[in-house]
């Protein structure tokens, strides 16, 4: 029945691909729709992690749903939760958010075309995690709010106290030194922050692919710069993430337009 078109209005939502099928994936793990269980489909010797979701929500209305912020927030958190749970057990190539297939047959057909390239991608991400690094400008010591006569004056004064959306750039030599230090510990770096680039005070951000054996080194580099920059900048680091930003290759970008 594997290749039969899902007749109950279900499509296969793909989370990612692994080389092995771990037996200890928690059975309580549920998919992006918060109902259906996660399954592994064997395609050409790799395992595709899917759940069977509503075709209405994830095929027909996916584009409009993605503009619904409540839906996008819930669904992307669920997407992250699934991939993260699998990545804690085995290396996973996460699939782009919102990738769905109508049948197992079409899924396997597309995976088969890419299976050689996928093997190379597995080598690139083996034993590594993605980390997000952000640098924020620190506000000068807060100045007291001037007295405001009207609500408008109050809001203007309040806005003036918020960190700028376009903070002062990090001096070139500082940035270069920081980037070189990060490049020394990361196997790859990728541009980050499609969503958060408007965060107030954000001066720099990047995604790093770091082997797990080098995690302590990454931490000590960030701590060194945080100490050096105490008065001017603050560093935030998130991770470990599944390697979301490191699975696409240049040819993917062209074909995905």
């Amino acid at each position: 029945m594997a290749a039969q078109l899902t007749s109950d209005g279900r499509v296969l939502y793909l989370y990612g691909i692994t080389q092995s099928s771990p037996s200890n994936i928690p059975s309580s793990l549920i998919g992006v729709d918060r109902f259906t269980p996660i399954e592994a489909v064997d395609c050409e010797g790799v395992f595709c992690w899917i759940s069977r979701v509503s075709a209405l929500d994830f095929e027909k209305n996916l584009a409009s749903n993605m503009e619904n912020l409540d839906w996008l927030a819930e669904t992307s958190v669920a997407h992250q939760r699934v991939i993260s749970a699998i990545s804690q057990i085995t290396d996973i190539l996460p699939t782009r958010f919102g990738t769905v297939f109508r049948t197992e047959q079409s899924l396997c057909k597309h995976v088969a075309k890419r299976v050689r390239g996928l093997k190379k991608d597995f080598e690139r991400i083996q034993g590594a995690d993605e980390w997000g690094v952000k640098v924020f400008a620190i506000q000068p010591a807060s100045i007291p709010m001037p007295p405001a006569r009207t609500g408008k004056d109050y809001l203007k004064a309040k806005a003036a106290l918020l960190p700028s959306r376009k903070p002062k750039a990090i001096p070139r030599e500082d940035l270069l030194e920081f980037e070189q230090a990060l490049a020394g510990v990361a196997t790859e770096t990728a541009p980050a922050g499609n969503v958060s680039r408007g965060q107030r005070g954000l001066s720099f951000q990047t995604s790093l692919l770091v082997r797990r054996t080098k995690r302590k080194k990454l931490e000590s580099i960030l701590e060194k710069f945080a100490r050096d920059w105490t008065r001017e900048r603050r560093i935030e680091c998130t991770g470990p993430w599944p390697p979301y930003s490191f699975v696409s290759r240049p040819d993917d970008k062209v074909r995905s337009k």
Binding site: L14, T99, V100, S196, E223, T230, V247, S256
Partner: protein, 77 residues
């Protein structure tokens, strides 16, 4: 200046940490393997979403920053 002024805020390295929604969207919507399926929505729409998120996430960010402050690790030198 607070005692943690020179500490890096690490989030996510402890199972009890909650990643911020902003960070989740940043990573989840960044890339990922592209397979040409029957239906693939490319992320060309992210910029549209971003404009709205920028406003809405300000409050989320503030709330979560508070959470992060209580769960972040001090600098380990």
């Amino acid at each position: 200046m607070s005692a943690t002024a020179n500490a890096v805020v690490f989030t996510g390295d402890d199972p009890s940490d909650e990643m911020t929604l902003l960070d989740i969207l940043d990573h989840v919507l960044n890339q990922g393997v592209v397979l040409r399926g029957n239906v693939i929505i490319s992320l060309a729409g992210v910029d549209l979403v971003y404009l709205g998120l920028d406003v809405i996430l300000t409050s989320v960010e503030t709330a979560l920053r508070h959470v992060n402050a209580t769960t972040s690790l001090p600098a380990r030198g």
